[in-house]
């Protein structure tokens, strides 16, 4: 229904010009409270980038502490004041840094920054819709996110500092303000921020799901959708189903903190004082948290998968290998992700039988992940690879996903997790698979769709340099951490100087810190390239990568409604690259089979009898001509 109205509205608009008053964009309606999905995508992206830079700087701060635990840096005191007395980060603030780094990266960068940007940009453009199902809700989604960002960052300005119980905020640590300074106002702000964030996420997710289901253009059936759309769609479904559970957990935590309930608290004596809480269970929170938390890591990685599938296929000039298998493995991952959360809790004291069950489901999820990896490799095989920066980052994603995925097999095994749980092995694992692979997916997407967003191209050679420095840097940072974990070095330790046995890792820590600083500095290349190219980049052509998908049929100059005339009809799947018999090495989705008789295959007409007849007829005629 909404498709029809929007469509009619657009026709009307083009019939009569811009005479209706609400079509005149002011600065505020165009750049601030915009309801155009492309502008909202840019808002999400730039906010996401700013948050990523902040979170990255936080990580550099705590890396400095880990590399030089004994040394004093007067600059830190100047910058951080009471949080770094005498130039040394305090233990409590160290934990705040770790917590806020994790929170920002997981939620604000890799969930909102990634899904928010690319779902918003690509869903309407790639399914052939004029905008989201509800542009207003979409706008609200961004502004709730923005508010959540502001509140999260504002917690640096409260007296006792930001939340510091780790990004998983396990109670009782997060529930008792007496347990640590960060569990005071900082934690309150964290919780408020997350509630707003989840609201934003839900508004976005509902929009994505309904747009994909209801607003596809003519001919765009589900099996003709690009893998990006499949990934965004399943991600949105995961988000809609799992985020409310986090809110439930958070609300109960707010009750425990502020209204004296005991959902998560029991038998507590703090600072020698017996507390009145009785009957609660801290494990309950962990169940609620990880019921979101595990789907969350797939919310982070699946859009990156979708993006890299699209980019690898386009730049290999080859159809993605096993399109159906790719979709089914995404669905498999999405479904299984709901029944694996317990692998975060093997050693919490949960019933060991449950641990065994969760181990089985966890290792099953490795199968679709393996299929995806092999399909990427098969797509590259005998391709004609074009190394755009986007392509390099997509290849980098595959490399990180292999490395990080394989260590997941260790951690998913309950017997091995006993000794690896909460060590640096875990840090290495999830930084490779989320911190590196998903970020690379995001960067790949930025390089690839930059022309669509800003009408200009980013500098390729700066992109190359950025890629190689970041790629090498990330491996140098995270690879050695595995070995620290295998030596039993725990994460979230302020200093390793208290343990004789951990001192041997001090030099490795220094090395990691410098690698991290190098990688962080390398991001300046990206930031410069990104912001410079917005204004001064080379102007792009309509379809710079010679890609098949619908977004490249829209004009370079943005207009609200995406296509100036009618929305194009889709005739084929999005991966007809290098089809034998075709003149060029790509055939956009909007080209009907009747125009590409020489390259058609019987497979193209599986559910299309009329088409198959026409194909057979053409084949016969052609043979007859050849025979003559």
């Amino acid at each position: 229904m909404s498709t029809v109205t929007v469509h009619a509205h657009e026709v009307d608009k083009h019939g009569h010009g811009h005479d209706e008053h609400h079509h005149h964009d002011t600065f505020i309606t165009k750049y601030v409270f915009s309801q155009d999905h492309k502008m909202i995508a840019k808002q999400f992206l730039i906010t996401g980038i700013i948050m990523a830079v902040i979170a990255m700087l936080l990580s550099v701060l705590f890396r400095i502490q880990l590399a030089y635990p004994e040394k004093s840096f007067p600059l830190l005191e100047t910058l951080l004041g009471r949080f770094a007395p005498e130039g040394k980060i305090s233990p409590d603030f160290y934990l705040s840094l770790v917590t806020i780094h994790g929170t920002i990266m997981v939620f604000f960068v890799l969930t909102a920054g990634l899904s928010g940007t690319f779902s918003n940009l690509l869903i309407p453009l790639q399914v052939g819709a004029r905008d989201m199902a509800s542009p207003f809700l979409n706008m609200l989604s961004y502004w709730f996110f923005f508010l959540a960002c502001v509140i999260m960052l504002s917690s640096f300005f409260v007296q006792k500092g930001p939340a510091s119980g780790g990004w998983t905020i396990y109670p009782p640590l997060s529930a008792l303000p007496k347990a640590m300074p960060g569990s005071g106002e900082g934690m309150t702000l964290w919780l408020i921020s997350m509630v707003l964030f989840v609201a934003s996420s839900l508004m976005g997710g509902i929009n994505y799901v309904s747009t994909v289901l209801n607003m596809r253009t003519k001919g765009m059936d589900l099996w003709k959708m690009p893998l990006t759309i499949w990934a965004f769609f399943l991600t949105a479904v995961l988000g809609v189903l799992s985020f409310p559970v986090l809110v439930a957990g958070v609300v109960l935590l707010i009750f425990d903190r502020s209204f004296g309930t005991s959902f998560y608290l029991s038998d507590i004596v703090i600072a020698g004082k017996v507390m009145p809480y009785e009957g609660g269970s801290p494990i309950l929170f962990q169940h609620l948290f990880w019921f979101l938390g595990h789907p969350e890591v797939y919310i982070v990685i699946m859009p990156a998968f979708g993006i890299s599938s699209e980019i690898i296929s386009t730049n290999s000039r080859k159809p993605i290998f096993g399109y159906h298998a790719m979709v089914y493995s995404l669905i498999g991952i999405a479904v299984l992700s709901f029944i694996v959360w317990g692998h975060h809790m093997f050693v919490t004291g949960m019933n060991p039988f449950l641990g065994g069950v969760f181990m089985i489901t966890t290792l099953i999820i490795a199968v679709p992940s393996a299929v995806k990896t092999f399909n990427y490799l098969a797509t590259l095989w005998r391709g004609n690879l074009r190394f755009t920066p986007g392509m390099l980052f997509a290849i980098g994603l595959v490399s990180f996903f292999i490395s990080g995925g394989l260590t997941g097999i260790f951690l998913g095994n309950a017997a091995l997790d006993i000794n690896l749980h909460d060590t640096y092995f875990v840090v290495a694992h999830f930084h490779l698979v989320m911190g590196s692979a998903a970020i690379f997916g995001m960067l790949a997407g930025v390089y690839h769709w930059f022309p669509k967003m800003f009408g200009r191209l980013m500098d390729e050679r700066l992109g190359y340099l950025h890629f190689w420095l970041t790629f090498a840097g990330a491996y140098l940072v995270f690879f050695p951490m595995h070995f620290m974990g295998l030596d039993g070095v725990p994460r979230r330790y302020y200093a390793f100087t208290e343990f004789e046995s951990m001192k041997q890792w001090l030099s490795v820590n220094t090395f990691i810190t410098w690698a991290a600083i190098m990688s962080a500095v390398a991001q300046l290349l990206f930031l410069f390239n990104f912001f410079y190219s917005i204004f001064f980049g080379k102007k792009t052509t309509q379809n710079p990568w010679q890609s098949n998908t619908l977004e490249w049929t829209t004009p370079v100059e943005h207009l609200h409604g995406n296509w100036p005339g009618e929305i194009p009809t889709v005739y084929r799947w999005p991966y007809d690259y290098s089809k034998p018999g075709a003149e060029e090495d790509f055939i956009p989705q909007t080209v009907p089979f009747s125009q590409t008789m020489s390259s058609n295959l019987p497979h193209d007409f599986e559910d299309n009898e009329a088409g198959l007849e026409a194909y057979d007829k053409w084949q016969k005629e052609n043979k007859a001509i050849e025979a003559n």
Binding site: D92, V269, F321, V367, I402, N413, E460, Y464, Y493
Partner: protein, 409 residues
């Protein structure tokens, strides 16, 4: 035809002119550098003017900051200049009608260099850092854990190298070389089935072995002769409680916690009366140990990596784990060649500001040494506690009735 050639030449010349503007650009940068250094110098001189050490330190700090900022700016300029040089080089090649820089080849070659360096680096890590890991397992079940680890490592490391080599190799070999067209190969059901089924089989093997290892480790039914030891975590230390002569630990309750009774031991329970406090977790070798785990304030985690043992300490949810230490501390000292070696127990769940230093020494000793050591430990029921509880010797039998209810967790 001719005119178009001159046109393109003109374009090149225009481009050259643009690049020549770089000269003015670089001189601007030079001026900036000069300015920056002079301000830094000025700061230095002002610093010497004030005798306050604080100011001097501050100024020195800003000098360092300025220094590093300058380095970053310089590197940026160098990258810019190198970029321009490359463009000039590219343009001259174009003017001369030669092939321009083939970035596809450059990237392909870097992929191969990265692959070789990566394999070398990974192997170096395996051999050098792989030798800095925990010594062999000092517990019975840990040997199984380590076997499981080795099997998993053996499988994954092969997959790791093969897939990375394929990824980088394909990236190099199938790079765009101009004329070749990609091979249209949308799917192959047989291959896809194979690489769904093979990982599935391998993972099934890992799941089954893992499942049984896990079951064996966690299947901790009480056996007679288990040595029960209580460990209680609080911010930021561990408290140990050993059973006395009766071999039984008494009950505790968090509401009984007070200044003198840190663990909230219920002294009405007869079993509590001889419970012992200890500073070091001393364990007799080759005996089944059952650690009962408690937390008073927030979640902690009892982590003993040398024994491949870990379990969280959760307030309100008492847990326990069992393991059998197999190697004496003294033997391990010999094995590791480290005369100061100690087994450790430390906290592995974020618990607050002191989380990073919440350790206990664990010592594995012979049976006789253990008995000897245990006899020297002091009971929790000190004279101070006795006084507070107004407990006389003759009240003990009265508590006997409750004893049956107070189960030894």
């Amino acid at each position: 035809m001719y005119s178009s050639v001159t046109n393109t030449k003109k374009e090149y010349i225009m481009a050259f002119k643009k690049i020549l503007n770089l000269k003015t650009l670089s001189s601007a940068f030079a001026a900036m550098l000069l300015f920056a250094t002079s301000t830094v110098m000025a700061q230095d001189t002002t610093a010497t003017n004030f005798p306050g050490a604080d100011d001097a330190a501050k100024s020195a700090m800003w000098t360092t900051v300025g220094y590093y900022a300058l380095i970053v700016v310089l590197v940026g300029i160098i990258i810019g200049i190198v970029g321009k040089i490359l463009r000039v080089y590219d343009l001259t090649l174009q003017i001369q009608g030669k092939k321009t820089i083939n970035w596809s080849n450059v990237m392909g070659i870097i992929f191969i260099i990265f692959l070789v360096a990566g394999i070398y680096g990974a192997l170096w890590s395996f051999f050098v850092q792989g030798n800095m890991l925990l010594p062999i397992s000092a517990s019975l079940h840990g040997v199984k854990t380590d076997n499981m680890f080795n099997i998993t490592f053996g499988i994954t490391v092969v997959v790791f190298f093969l897939t990375q080599i394929a990824l980088f190799g394909f990236s190099f070999y199938y790079r765009n070389r101009g004329k070749r067209k990609a091979y249209f190969y949308p799917h192959n059901n047989t291959i896809e089935k194979i690489w769904t089924i093979i990982p599935a089989i391998v993972l099934t093997v890992l799941v089954i072995t893992g499942f049984f290892t896990w079951k064996e480790i966690t299947n901790t039914t009480e056996v007679k002769g288990d040595i029960n030891i209580d460990i209680t975590g609080h911010q930021f230390a561990w408290e140990l409680r050993y059973p006395g002569k009766d071999g039984k630990l008494g009950s505790k309750k968090y509401t009984l916690v007070s200044g003198t009774n840190k663990l909230g031991i219920d002294f009405k329970d007869k079993n509590s009366l001889d419970d012992l406090a200890a500073d070091t977790l001393v364990l007799p070798v080759n005996r089944s140990i059952r650690i009962n785990i408690f937390a008073q304030d927030v979640i902690h985690s009892v982590y003993m990596p040398h024994f491949r043992a870990q379990l969280n300490a959760v307030p309100g949810l008492p847990t326990y784990m069992k393991f059998t230490p197999t190697i004496l501390t003294t033997d391990m000292r010999e094995k590791t060649g480290n005369p100061k070696f100690e087994y450790l127990l430390y906290c592995n769940k974020i618990c607050g500001g002191g989380h990073y230093n919440m350790q206990k020494v664990v010592r594995v000793v012979s049976d006789s040494e253990y008995a000897d050591w245990l006899s020297k430990q002091k009971p929790y029921l000190t004279d101070g506690v006795k006084k507070e509880l107004k407990m006389a010797v003759n009240t003990q039998p009265a508590a006997q009735g409750q004893n049956r209810l107070a189960l030894n967790n």
